[in-house]
Symmetry: D2
Subunit: 352 residues, 4 copies
């Protein structure tokens, strides 16, 4: 070592720090304290027309018994390790074929299914059997046993939404297999969900769960009701809805009026033909799934053109605006981590 | 005054107390601290068949302009001064004739209307016009402007429910006339209520009122939806409901999942033919109105036989049980101060 | 009966109503729906100098065993049947003599004691023994066992505050004697209360009671702490406090930050020499007890002059203002039903 | 390309997925859905004796004007990119020298300072000037302006706690410089904090912030009060406290009774000489700072020996137990993301 290699006192201090697992804040202050949020997630669209054939391939090439769940994960290009769709949420396409069963398990991650196509499958959640029809929203809240069985004739495809990226980041992910492949069915006719289905009437002989506060007791929000609600509101023609999202309805927890899951709000929007949303940005991240129609969403500098059954995401604090062409309405299902941001005092939004 | 008239020191002390507006607790301890509640209210039934002709008489004999509201108060025989139906709540029969208008006013007392008969009348609540059809529940929450107008052909009769006995006892009753006989109509098509009507979907572009927290934003809970809910639950045949009240549904506030008004919970129950309720008692007081069918309710030692459109009350902590004869279902609308008792930590119930 | 005695159809209709326990709303609308609240309670002051001798008399003339509690009730001249101090709350002077024991019981009415004079007595609340020193606030929340024992040398006098008028009006009053004259002492050193006493630090190994939500876990708020808080705030000299009530502090429930009891808020105020409160009115009713100093309170047209240990009340919606003379500070303890009005959406205030 | 190079249909499907930013869930199911949480964070200890000289070096070598804040970050060896101490929280050692000023800024990340050594510095938070003395806890909640100035004689060293890892992960990090180097001082004598300091008495003329719900209004929790609380509880000798954490007190928000910040709970524990904690694990992550005394904490298989002013962390779901030697008490300050886990329904704990 020549004299020029003698470390300065500064170099020694930095080396000491490294050895102690310490680091100088001043070298990355701007990155850790940005003027405004910079999400690692990118706006992205997953076209159903291209994902469906892949799903069909694996429905033949991969047994469900081996796979646990046969799901194509939609991995945000900016969030590959660990894989996530937005920093807190996950979206996947699940496929179950006639005759198959996805065995019973539970996890602390909250989940839901939004049905894309197929008929004849059922999901059993804590003993209650729920039919799966296109447009239905089924909840499998955290630590609820659930399994899926398919006795129909065509492939069942649905969107899986989970909060495992958030749950894992919070060191709170638990998983357990049920003691048998499927759980016994206690409520074959959706008796429990049916009690909450209509109007604004809650069964007065039941009480909210103390074990799972903040979790909706409704197993299934059937499309038939959703469509009726959208139609009823729009038929009068006098309701403008949200300037950014059109006629935007939130699936609600009948015990609280709040989101259906403590970490995820689920919504449905009808954008009328010719809709041009006012641009805005908010700290919540959103994943959209196109129920019907087509249009485009501008996110920052990028434009995502979407068609029926496509899925796309808008990262937190990205500026976005939806547009629908003049010739037909569009219907967008979406889910968001907004409840998390709100309850922690971190939700902020801005119209542009 | 003879020597025997000389007051004892005790007599002097009692006299001093009286002069000071003080009183000996030990002389009425048992009354003020009863082993269990003894309501001054008595179980009572008001038969519609006898009230209706009286209402019809005054519809001719009394102008609505003079009366402010043409209402037959149902005054509990134990609660005549001030008059109330149960200690906290009031029930009345209101009649409005074709061509009449009940002028716009507001009061801090919370109120609702449950329609008994007639068609063609409307209630306007804070600018939203609501149709009135038999079985509809309309809310006129505290300090909301409201007026009624009738352009149909037959008499409109409805049940008025208010919490003015509670509100007045709490020194919180305010009243104001609107500057004009009727308020302008901003939402002729119930646009606001319509947004909350179906399923479990809340309009996401609206936010709960900060001025009236705990008040449902729904103007009208139409009978069509209520009947559909009752039918959907009962059709499966597997739901037993409440052992005391049958299939008992509570009208809910979509923002909170709780009661429609901070002080009043409104409910609807279907009691199947042959229903025999398990007796119970609770500190809440309840007023029932018979939508359809007939039956009887045993309250303490008394039996109240009820028929369509009758109104009756069950005082707090009275033991009661409903019975329905074998030949037909019955439907009971009811309202109760249970939310008040619960929020103050004073609700208690006991099955017998 | 002559022809002139033939009842008119109107008279018959009114008679029918009376027979049915119905009444015409139009004959008392203004009374039931007043433009603003008119409390039956009147402003009133109970001078300690005159009540004390009466209490002393009965301390000799009446055995505590017979009396259950030896309490002089302060009965509002407008609220004699049933007796109450304001419509919802009660105030009494209780006296216990050396060697006496007030036996253990519990009631659903919430209660507290604010100590006026004496030393050496203890109150045991659900097994925790609490010392009683002048200025201490002791809670005996609803359905908590409590008894008092006095092993000191001078008479113990304290202010009893209860919500039984509200509780009884809500049909929710229950009472029970303990199986023995006194309950066993589990915490002789106030261990439980001591854990919550200082600063803003809650014991993290304890959890709020699920049986009594909204009830403070603190048995005693000792005067020493209260005085220290008042002194600390006032010493800086920069805090103006409330324009109506001076340096007004509320005893708080450490689990919620809210009132110490679900129905009663307890407060302490220091009014500096020369204080002249801005007049205001609110729907809450308040009972004041003078800890030290003297002054006067104008209530409506009436002026109440108060001195040490006097008790007085300000009914709901009465306009009031406090004044303190130039020569010395005054300290007022007070309690109010404001939490009830707030939670029911009925609190309203106005500065004049 | 030879025939063996022809991709199989499987290979093609996987390639398609990759191209679409999709991935097979079945290849990483176990990792994403672990049987129980596996934190990337590792147990680690940062010895003050070694960090202090490094901090002193940079107090000379680095101007505060350039550094924005002169902070040694404690970077968990398992969480280097982005750097964090546990997945949601950050710990750093900040040093300010006599005569220096750390300029005013604000960020949505919540922060606090726990003073280690030095005297004579002040922090100004939204206009209120707060003294900094060893053991004091000062809050600088999200989006509150704050700056630090030091007019004393010895170096000021404190522990910085922030939730920026959580906030950044949720895309909710905003930062802003104040328009001037320091903000004007509106409350030089801590008037605001002083109002909340003692006992359990809240200033009744103030109301909780609607802009920052869930944020404590107390600027400073001084060590003098903390020590008094610890002493009062322990002097009776009858309180065992938590089997895992000893006499563990939580700094509380006087408006809610809950944690001082929506995302961070701050606590202080006194572990008596000879304390041997019962092992447990919970999903919350904790950072400890040794106020005084020494001991050791076993985390999983690792043992961390700690002395005065050291900082160490226990990752979520790690099994841990504290031990203190026989010869002296220890006092541990700690902070945790438990409020986040609880409010999202993800808190779970287990005693071992």
């Amino acid at each position: 070592m020549t004299s020029t290699d003698v470390p300065t006192t500064d170099e020694r201090a930095y080396a000491d720090m490294a050895e102690l697992s310490a680091a100088p804040l001043w070298r990355q202050y701007g990155e850790l304290m940005p003027a405004q949020p910079v999400s690692r997630a990118r706006p992205h669209l997953w076209p159903y027309a291209r994902l469906r054939p892949v799903a069909m391939h694996f429905s033949r090439a991969l047994s469900l018994a081996e796979a646990e769940r046969r799901v194509l994960m939609m991995v945000n290009p900016g969030l590959t390790d660990p894989p996530a769709t937005v920093p807190t949420l996950f979206a996947g396409i699940q496929i179950v074929m006639p005759g198959e069963t996805a065995r019973a398990h539970r996890h602390t991650a909250n989940a839901f299914r939004f049905i894309i196509e197929g008929d004849g499958a059922v999901t059993t959640v804590n003993g209650e059997q729920l039919a799966m029809r296109p447009g239905d929203l089924l909840l499998t809240p955290g630590w609820h046993w659930h399994d899926h069985a398919h006795q129909g004739h065509s492939p069942m495809m649905w969107l899986d939404g989970l909060d495992y990226p958030l749950v894992n980041n919070l060191n709170a992910g638990f998983f357990e297999l049920y003691q048998a492949p499927v759980q016994p069915v206690a409520n074959p006719d959706e008796a429990s969900s049916r009690q909450f289905r209509h109007g604004r009437l809650n069964p007065a002989w039941r009480a909210p769960s103390t074990e799972h506060p903040g979790v909706s007791p409704v197993g299934s929000y059937p499309w038939e009701e959703t469509e009726r609600a959208l139609a009823t509101i729009t038929e009068a023609g006098t309701v403008a809805g949200s300037a950014a999202e059109g006629i935007l309805l939130e699936y609600s927890n009948p015990w609280t009026g709040g989101p259906v899951l403590p970490t995820i709000a689920c919504r449905i929007a009808r954008l009328r033909a010719g809709f041009a949303g006012v641009p805005r940005q908010h700290t919540a991240s959103t994943i959209y799934h196109v129920v019907s129609g087509s249009g485009s969403t501008t996110v920052g500098e990028q434009r995502l053109d979407w068609n029926e059954h496509d899925t796309f995401c808008v990262p937190g604090w990205a500026r976005y605006a939806h547009q629908v062409a003049a010739q037909g309405d569009a219907t967008l299902f979406s889910y968001t981590d907004e409840p998390v941001l709100r309850v922690l005092g971190l939700y902020r939004e801005q119209w542009l």
